[in-house]
């Protein structure tokens, strides 16, 4: 592996990305939509873009989703 694909993915940015503050403000709404199988990505593309790019927010989202689904209980 020459690292080029990973570097390309890391440097790529999405202008729809809403940033951490907006994503975290709505995280409970977004996670509940995902947990119930609703098209959360279509409804909140800016949050979806952010969660894909931001490691810490993505981690918080996975944790909240696991809690909702009862995976951590």
């Amino acid at each position: 592996m020459n690292g080029r694909p990973a570097l390309d993915r890391f440097l790529r940015t999405d202008p729809r990305d809403v940033g951490c503050d907006q994503a975290m403000e709505m995280l409970h709404v977004y996670a509940e939509l995902v947990a119930s199988g609703e098209p959360a990505q279509q409804r909140y593309p800016g949050i979806a873009a952010h969660l894909q790019a931001c490691g810490p927010c993505g981690e918080d989202f996975q944790g909240l989703l696991a809690a909702i689904r009862g995976e951590t209980r």
């Binding site: 592996m1 020459n2 690292g3 080029r4 990973a6 570097l7 390309d8 890391f10 440097l11 790529r12 940015t13 999405d14 202008p15 729809r16 990305d17 940033g19 951490c20 503050d21 975290m24 995280l27 409970h28 709404v29 996670a31 509940e32 790019a53 931001c54 490691g55 810490p56 927010c57 981690e59 918080d60 996975q62 944790g63 909240l64 696991a66 809690a67 909702i68 995976e71 951590t72 209980r73």
Partner: protein
């Protein structure tokens, strides 16, 4: 009370907004639930952390206690956009996250301001055995980091990419916020990609909207 609440959420709000034994019982039940979620979240992240055993359990209990305080303080902000428990879980997940960031700030794996460029190819999964294939690519990236980024962007890039510092830990180190550091890194990524494309190291991408 927000309109259109499900019965369970309405019950939580009524009990927590009240007084006396009913409120105390609701607080105890909420605390037990938050502890359970915090322990689960700490365990979920555990395999990737260098925190184990009692220390991880302490972290979970502290996260639950702090989340309970935050929830009772902000309960008036609950707008009923989700179930009450989902809204409450968010607080404890954030607390676990923040406490893990703080832990790594106190016990950094590498000095936060170290600068070891040899780590760069490995961060992107480049195989040392094939250095001939990637040597120019990462040399160009380093030049772009040095020439294109502001001192703040460079500092954030070096900490997160070269030193593998968790973003939340860097936030504490710089006395900043997660969003502010993310925006610095976002701008750095855009600049670096533009430079790498301009110099022929990465291709144009029609999916790139910026």
């Amino acid at each position: 009370m927000p309109a259109g609440l499900d019965a369970e959420s309405a019950g939580w709000i009524q009990a927590l907004a009240g007084a006396g034994p009913r409120r105390e019982a609701a607080l105890a039940r909420l605390h037990a639930m938050l502890v359970r979620i915090a322990q689960g979240e700490a365990a979920r992240r555990g395999p990737r952390l260098r925190i184990t055993g009692p220390e991880l359990d302490d972290l979970a209990y502290q996260a639950a206690a702090d989340a309970l305080v935050a929830i009772t303080r902000k309960i008036g902000q609950f707008r009923g956009e989700s179930r009450f428990t989902t809204w409450a879980y968010k607080f404890v997940i954030f607390e676990v996250s923040a406490k893990i960031g703080r832990h790594f700030w106190r016990h950094p794996a590498v000095p936060l301001d170290a600068e070891d460029w040899d780590r760069l190819p490995g961060w992107f999964g480049a195989d040392p055995a094939h250095q001939a294939e990637w040597g120019d690519l990462f040399a160009a990236l380093r030049r772009a980091v040095d020439c294109e980024l502001t001192p703040r962007q460079r500092e954030v890039f070096v900490a997160i990419v070269l030193n593998d510092v968790p973003l939340d830990t860097l936030v504490l180190h710089l006395g900043s916020s997660r969003n502010a550091i993310y925006q610095v890194l976002f701008a750095a990524r855009r600049k670096l990609r533009a430079a790498m494309v301009e110099n022929g190291y990465l291709g144009e991408d029609s999916a790139e909207r910026s």
